[in-house]
């Protein structure tokens, strides 16, 4: 069998050794086995969801007709979309500022901009809870304005990721291109639109993907900032699991996974995988 054959191999062909293949296989199992189990058991015809009792799609129907769950999902998607958009703008501008300009206290700004990535989420969560209480943030607004607090919190921890990705892309920008555009008559704005944005576009797509998925599955910070009427998908799933892990939760999670995969796929198609890989 080819897999176990001891054919002569080139010095750097590590992937042809048996142990390396077993190792890679084990890593893949660790990564994807839980997800596979989750998806398979979403079709399990059993309430307790421990033993396989036959195939059914009724829990998908149940999940989709669970108004609270659907509302939570819509909330999550709305928050994620808003937070992504705002993070892209703020994060990109911050990256350009740090890359392009020299100003007093730049070192401190540079250091603090990535602070929300480093600070433990629980601390951020508590901080937001206290902040929104202190400013007496209204909790009785109509949809979608009642999502304001959560969205603001999400922007805070999402935009530094955009800044990081965009900055690393900016580092490879050839300043002569900017000068060439100006030399041909372009204004600062035209340089930005015609030369700089096209250069950082892969980083914008990658940053948007990061921000969207971070926002979509954030639990800790959201838990602390959500009001009584503003529940998001992860928080809702958590409350459902506290009673029992039903296939309904599995079904809802599976839908979310598919949604994220499809979105990622579209983004990669739009941009080209290679360009995004090049940003890192």
């Amino acid at each position: 069998m080819a897999l176990f054959a001891r054919a002569a191999r080139a010095p750097l062909e590590y992937s042809r050794t048996l142990w390396m293949r077993l190792w890679v296989g084990a890593v893949m199992v660790f990564l994807y086995a839980p997800l596979a189990v989750l998806m398979i058991f979403s079709f399990n015809d059993s309430k307790r969801n421990v033993v396989w009792r036959g195939f059914t799609t009724k829990y998908y129907e149940k999940a989709l007709s669970n108004d609270q769950l659907v509302e939570a999902l819509v909330n999550s998607l709305a928050i994620a979309a808003l937070a992504t958009l705002a993070s892209l703008v703020i994060g990109t501008l911050a990256a350009i500022m740090l890359w392009r300009f020299r100003f007093p206290l730049k070192g401190i700004v540079d250091g603090t901009v990535s602070l929300p990535i480093i600070v433990p989420e629980i601390c951020l969560g508590v901080a937001f809870l206290m902040f929104f209480a202190a400013v007496d943030w209204p909790t009785d607004l109509i949809w979608p304005f009642n999502l304001g607090a959560i969205t603001i919190a999400h922007i805070t921890f999402c935009f530094p990721f955009v800044t990081m990705v965009v900055r690393s892309r900016l580092a490879s920008f050839n300043r002569e291109q900017e000068e060439a555009a100006k030399d041909l008559g372009a204004s600062e704005w035209q340089v930005f639109r015609d030369v700089l944005i096209p250069h950082i576009k892969p980083a914008l797509v990658a940053g948007a993907l990061l921000a969207f998925t971070l926002s979509l599955d954030d639990f800790v910070i959201t838990y602390f900032t959500s009001g009584p009427d503003t529940i998001t998908f992860p928080v809702k799933v958590y409350s459902m699991v506290r009673f029992s892990v039903t296939p309904e939760v599995n079904a809802a999670s599976t839908l979310l996974i598919i949604l994220t995969v499809v979105l990622t796929f579209i983004a990669l198609k739009l941009q080209g995988v290679k360009a995004i890989a090049d940003t890192h």
Partner: protein, 376 residues
């Protein structure tokens, strides 16, 4: 009105300092309409800074730059009647060739048929007709440079600035582009200002060359004047290969001069040098202007070709180094005085390189109009 070409670029007492470093030091230059002007100098001499000040990417600390009579102070790069070809070419990677070349026209508001015609014309000019739809990453370095050239030429600038245009090309392509750039300049009639550190490039393309050293103009001359009549030791040494010897001026009359060099012996010139008598001077002698021959055989050559008194313009030595370069052979010769002299000799026949070999005793002489006396 005189017929003399008027200056298109006037650089008046321009200095540029970056902190404590003076990159350009009180430079005065007139660049004439329609000429192929080259700024030549070693890296870090300030030539690129000078070019960038003309383009508007750097502002002079002191002094004034006029383009076509208009003071450029306070005029941004995008408003200046000059265009630049960058060292990295800076072709926009996300635009097709046509979009790259048409970018300046788009900004200027030139639309439709006229824009298309001008793009096609510019591409034709740089021999890239039919490449409109190509993306830059599908092109070679040389082709990308042509795109950058077309992108600038399409704007019909008064002056085209080129920053080290040939430095990234391989030797063959570079030689070809030297000719093409000269042809192109003839065709479009635009003033070209090029920065380079490569003397071959400068000599072959320029109508006039300014040699820049430490932020200042060391000499401004045509290529042949620069090579044959260098004004100082820096220029003599930087442009081409040269032997330089220190000496004392012993004779200086309108039609002849003599320098006594401890290293080279007595040097005779058939013209005056107008230096103070007894002054310390330097004699520069190009390797290709020295005749090499077997001792004793030179007498006949001397009588026929030379115009110097006995015991002048003559040296003896021993070959210590040889390098055969195909078209010429270079010899390193240890003179009897202990100094080293570099001599080059064209290989006129297929066997010329066999005439001399290591440790051969040789005699050398040179014509009275070959050495250059340098006062600084």
């Amino acid at each position: 009105m005189t017929n003399a070409p008027k200056p298109i670029i006037q650089i008046r007492n321009v200095s540029k300092r970056f902190g404590k470093v003076t990159a350009v030091d009180d430079v005065n230059l007139d660049i004439l309409t329609g000429e192929f002007f080259v700024l030549l100098g070693p890296s870090g001499c300030g030539k690129t800074t000078l070019l960038r000040m003309i383009a508007g990417f750097e502002l002079p600390t002191e002094g004034q730059i006029l383009i076509d009579g208009q003071d450029m102070a306070g005029i941004a790069p995008n408003k200046r009647p000059v265009n630049m070809v960058f060292q990295s070419y800076a072709v926009f990677p996300h635009m097709s060739v046509a979009d790259n070349v048409g970018y300046g026209l788009k900004i200027a508001g030139v639309k439709g048929g006229e824009a298309k015609d001008r793009v096609a014309e510019a591409l034709e000019l740089v021999k890239l007709g039919g490449y409109e739809a190509r993306m830059p990453d599908q092109m070679s370095g040389g082709q990308r440079q042509r795109v950058a050239l077309a992108r600038s030429l399409v704007m019909r600038p008064k002056v085209l600035l080129l920053d080290e245009p040939l430095s990234a090309l391989d030797a063959k392509l570079r030689a070809q582009m030297q000719f093409e750039l000269s042809d192109l300049q003839d065709q479009v009639g635009i003033t070209f200002v090029t920065v380079t550190h490569d003397q071959d490039e400068a000599l072959s393309m320029a109508s006039r060359i300014a040699v820049i050293n430490k932020g200042d103009v060391a000499q401004l001359a045509t290529p042949s004047d620069l090579y044959e009549y260098p004004a100082n030791r820096f220029v003599a040494d930087f442009v081409g290969s040269v032997n330089i010897f220190e000496g004392k001026l012993t004779l200086d009359e309108p039609d002849r001069a003599a320098v006594d060099c401890p290293g080279l012996g007595k040097v005779y010139l058939n013209h005056g040098v107008t230096g103070p008598h007894g002054a310390d001077v330097w004699v520069a002698l190009r390797p290709e202007k020295i005749y090499l021959h077997v001792p004793g055989e030179g007498k006949a050559v001397r009588a026929a070709a030379l115009d110097a008194p006995e015991d002048h313009n003559f040296a003896r030595g021993c070959i210590k180094g040889m390098s055969y370069l195909g078209d010429i052979t270079l010899y390193e010769i240890l003179l009897d005085s202990g100094a080293m002299l570099r001599v080059s000799r064209p290989n006129l026949s297929r066997h010329d390189q066999e005439d001399f070999t290591w440790d051969d005793r040789v005699s050398m002489h040179w014509r009275a109009d070959s050495p250059v006396v340098l006062l600084g």
